[in-house]
């Protein structure tokens, strides 16, 4: 890396040129990873749901078990007509998917795929993820409001309420880990799990995190902002084509993010025998994603009030309990 | 109560309001004058006929009348009642029975929609199956619509 920078200096170019090049390359790499990973996840979700439901799912496109189905769907979405509903707020309507996707993408900055394989090891790592994930809701509200549709407004309101309610237990549930490590840096947290994964001492925190994270991703059983049987499709009911594809991409990108964060915080990140670190990390992450898909195709949807009750009356007290016990143990140990 | 007892009770109470009566199996069948129909239905409900199975309207074009048919039964006895009331076509008004059986609400709306019988005292007498701006009463025998083409065998 140093040599790379030096090379530019010898050519007489200012420093920000190589810096910019590095940034663009890294961002492109992340973007490609996200796109490929999402395509894989969509195909996987379709196959998993199909096999849960005693059917096959996509079998034709691409030959082997319809592996190219997602690519075909993506191309189809790209070339569809761009429809903006009448009476919609055009600017906000166009901006909303970008906000949602940007928020989803930004979180990839702090995912530690392996030792040193991290875009930027911020020293506020976890906090960065938490704060950036709250941006998604702004995008959802923008989408819901600008569509000029009552179902989407209802979906946006539900989404706002849900996000505010579940952000709190989510943050408190990972405090136990942060207190144990004494750092917010993702790399430091993973390194601290050399011996015992935090899922063992922090089992309660892990479960709370998982539930709250599924709610953050708006997935069943917490998908009430887009509940198709009540609100048709909630906040993105008026979106189609490319804009819808971006929402879709963001949803799956978020799924990957929360699973990756859970892997790093609780499941020992890249630690594991035999296989290389990055592979272990991806294996654990995709296992968590599989769990989320499994839940989605097995459970029914919660109701709004039940969702709120679960968040505030069950998860939050438990998360505080977890934090208190962790603190007590840390103090007693000295 | 057997069907005969029901018929007897109604006859003794309302006398000549019952135009004709007949017993068929466990069903008491009565033809009733319009004026007394509501009182008779109250009396029948008092006898335990708490379940209004069906309310139908029939167009008796030949005699220039419309007929409202009540099918009553009870969840505690096998006896059933079939009661017919006729109203003249030019003045098709009859007392609504929504206050006795709530289920009559939609049945009466349907009868109004299809046959044009006006139910006096119905809380919300609107068309139910056809659209609000429909003209005419489709199930009447003399209903004409330019969209109705007579069927001609080939």
């Amino acid at each position: 890396m140093e040599q790379f920078y030096n090379a530019f200096e010898t050519w007489g170019l200012p420093l920000f040129v190589p810096q910019l090049i590095v940034m663009v390359v890294v961002a492109t790499a992340v973007l490609i990873f996200v796109a490929v990973s999402v395509m894989f996840m969509v195909w996987w979700e379709r196959k998993i749901s199909a096999h849960i439901q005693v059917r096959f799912g996509p079998m034709r496109v691409g030959g082997w078990h319809g592996w190219a189905q997602s690519i075909a769907d993506g191309i189809k979405l790209l070339i569809k007509e761009d429809i903006v509903p009448e009476g919609a707020d055009r600017l906000v309507f166009a901006l909303a998917p970008m906000v949602v996707f940007a928020a989803g993408l930004a979180a990839y900055v702090i995912i530690p795929f392996g030792p040193g394989l991290i875009v930027s090891d911020l020293n506020i790592g976890v906090l960065f993820y938490i704060s950036i994930s709250s941006l998604t809701v702004v995008g959802i509200i923008m989408a819901g409001w600008s569509s000029n549709n009552k179902y989407s407004v209802l979906g946006a309101i539900r989404s706002a309420a849900q996000a505010v309610s579940y952000e709190v237990p989510l943050v408190v549930s990972i405090l136990g880990v942060i207190m144990t490590v004494g750092s917010l840096s993702m790399t430091r947290i993973v390194e601290a799990q050399q011996g015992v994964w935090f899922v063992i001492p922090q089992l309660l925190g892990f479960l709370i995190y998982l539930i709250a994270a599924i709610a953050e991703c708006n997935r069943l059983p917490f998908d009430i902002p887009e509940a198709e049987s009540e609100l048709v499709a909630g906040f993105h009911v008026e979106y189609s084509g490319m804009r819808f594809a971006i929402f879709f991409l963001a949803e799956y990108a978020n799924m990957f993010t929360v699973s990756a964060i859970a892997t790093a915080l609780f499941l020992g990140g890249w630690h594991g025998p035999l296989l290389p670190g990055w592979l272990w990390f991806l294996l654990k992450t995709y296992f968590l994603i599989f769990v989320m898909m499994w839940l989605r195709w097995t459970l029914a949807r919660l109701r709004v009030d039940q969702l709120m009750n679960l968040g505030w009356k069950v998860l939050l007290p438990l998360a505080f309990l977890n934090m208190g016990i962790t603190g007590l143990i840390l103090v007693l140990r000295g | 109560m057997t069907p005969d007892e029901v018929t007897e009770a109604i006859k003794s109470q309302f006398g000549d309001a019952v135009k004709a009566s007949e017993v068929k199996g466990d069903e008491a069948r009565m033809d009733i004058h319009r004026e007394k129909s509501y009182e008779i239905l109250i009396a029948l409900k008092g006898m335990g006929f708490d379940y209004l199975n069906c309310l139908s309207a029939v167009d008796r074009l030949a005699s220039g009348e419309l007929e409202v048919v009540y099918n009553l039964s009870s969840l505690s006895q096998p006896t059933k009642v079939l009661m017919r009331v006729r109203v003249p076509r030019e003045d098709p008004i009859i007392r609504s029975v929504v206050s006795l059986w709530s289920t009559a609400d939609w049945h009466e709306r349907e009868a109004f929609d299809m046959m044009g019988i006006r139910f006096d005292g119905h809380p919300d007498l609107r068309r139910i199956l056809t659209s609000e701006d429909w003209v005419g009463y489709p199930l009447r025998k003399d209903y004409q619509d330019e969209r109705l083409v007579p069927y001609e065998p080939v």
Binding site: S229 | D59, L82
Partner: protein, 377 residues
């Protein structure tokens, strides 16, 4: 309230506390083209106004212009998820009007097909209730089983949805040779599937919490609204026309009538769920007792019932399916009226749907189990 009035109401309202939402006629969970006008206070539904008739096909008017036999295929289109039972109710009405005796074998065939149809219909209801509550998997499971029943029907009648298979006086065709074995194999295969539904639905705490205590309908209101079928039984009234006003040969079979206690969505779910078990029992007994012999009775060449009228009711999967026929002595009915259970059951929705949340309206509607073909006729 029409659209213009809605616009006016909307402009005068100050806050979102009074929002009107049109649910349907194009909506994923109104089970067809039902339109519900919801008055919302935030998420709470303060008023439900159903608008029906989008699927009105002049069923009764057509009936008046067809001969008695010609009406049979039209009855298929009433409750298209339980066509066999519509046929059953209609031919029974005409037979009683004329006084035709149906051979024993035909009666057994009718009961077997009717009860299989009840299972198929309840399976669709189970699947769509799951969909309404966000559980997609149960839908696929239910359809898998229903396909097998449709295969059986296809082997008998050649059709998979609109069978038009019952005839006035009996049945047109005997069972094919393989039917008895196939049907027994299906029942053996189906019985272990019912616990699978329990695992997905009944035993799932989210499902329980969603539906328990929801959309309560007490017995008094149920009778007042003439609710029938599983909905009435869920309200705690042990009333089943197969037992209380027996038609055909239902008095020969042993089966239980499940009843609920509070009349909420959970009770309606459990009643229908157990009814599937009971239908299996009836089919098994009927297969056991299926006698040989004729399948169609003595029917006059030209069907001209005597002048008169008759109201006949049967216990269709959705409740009391009644036919009111008025004959003027000709070969066509003078008046042909269908008392459809879904139509009557739906009329109670404004009462039980008031005060619940938007998500609950969907669940309550699902628990009523409407078929718009029958509601709108």
């Amino acid at each position: 309230m029409n659209l213009q009035e809605m616009e006016i109401a909307e402009q005068t309202q100050e806050t979102m506390e009074e929002m009107y939402v049109n649910m349907g006629p194009q909506h994923p969970s109104t089970h067809g083209v039902l339109r519900l006008l919801l008055k919302l206070d935030g998420e709470v539904v303060t008023e439900v106004i159903p608008y029906i008739g989008y699927l009105h096909r002049c069923h009764e008017k057509i009936g008046e212009n067809r001969t008695y036999t010609q009406i049979i295929p039209y009855t298929d289109r009433l409750d298209y998820l339980a066509s066999m039972y519509n046929n059953f109710g209609y031919v029974l009405t005409v037979e009683r009007l004329i006084g035709i005796v149906v051979p024993e074998r035909a009666e057994y065939m009718r009961v077997i097909l009717g009860e299989l149809q009840r299972i198929a219909s309840h399976l669709i209801w189970l699947g769509t209730l799951g969909l309404d509550l966000g559980n997609f998997t149960i839908f696929m499971y239910a359809f898998r089983e229903r396909e097998k029943i449709l295969d059986l029907f296809e082997s008998v009648s050649g059709q998979r949805l609109n069978y038009a298979f019952y005839r006035i006086g009996g049945m047109p065709l005997d069972f094919p040779d393989s039917f008895l074995a196939d049907c027994k194999a299906f029942l053996e295969w189906f019985k272990p599937r019912l616990p699978e539904y329990d695992a997905l639905m009944s035993d799932n705490i989210i499902f329980q919490k969603r539906v328990q205590g929801l959309g309560k309908l007490d017995a008094k209101t149920a009778i007042d609204y003439a609710i029938s079928g599983p909905m009435l039984r869920a309200s705690g009234i042990k009333w089943d026309l197969r037992r209380n006003d027996p038609y055909s040969i239902y008095d020969r079979f042993e089966f239980d009538i499940p009843v609920g206690t509070s009349g909420d969505v959970w009770d309606r779910y459990m009643v229908r769920r157990i009814e599937m078990d009971e239908s299996v029992k009836i089919v098994e007994q009927a297969l056991q007792g299926l006698p040989p012999g004729e399948i169609i009775g003595k029917v006059p060449k030209k069907l001209k019932p005597p002048v008169g009228d008759i109201y006949t009711r049967v216990e269709s999967p959705r409740g009391e399916l009644g036919f009111y026929l008025v004959s003027d002595g000709s070969d066509k009915p003078y008046r042909y009226k269908v008392r459809s259970p879904a139509f009557v059951n739906l009329s109670v929705l404004p009462v039980i749907g008031r005060g619940c949340l938007v998500a609950d309206i969907v669940a309550i509607l699902g628990s009523i189990d409407i078929v718009l073909g029958e509601v709108d006729r």
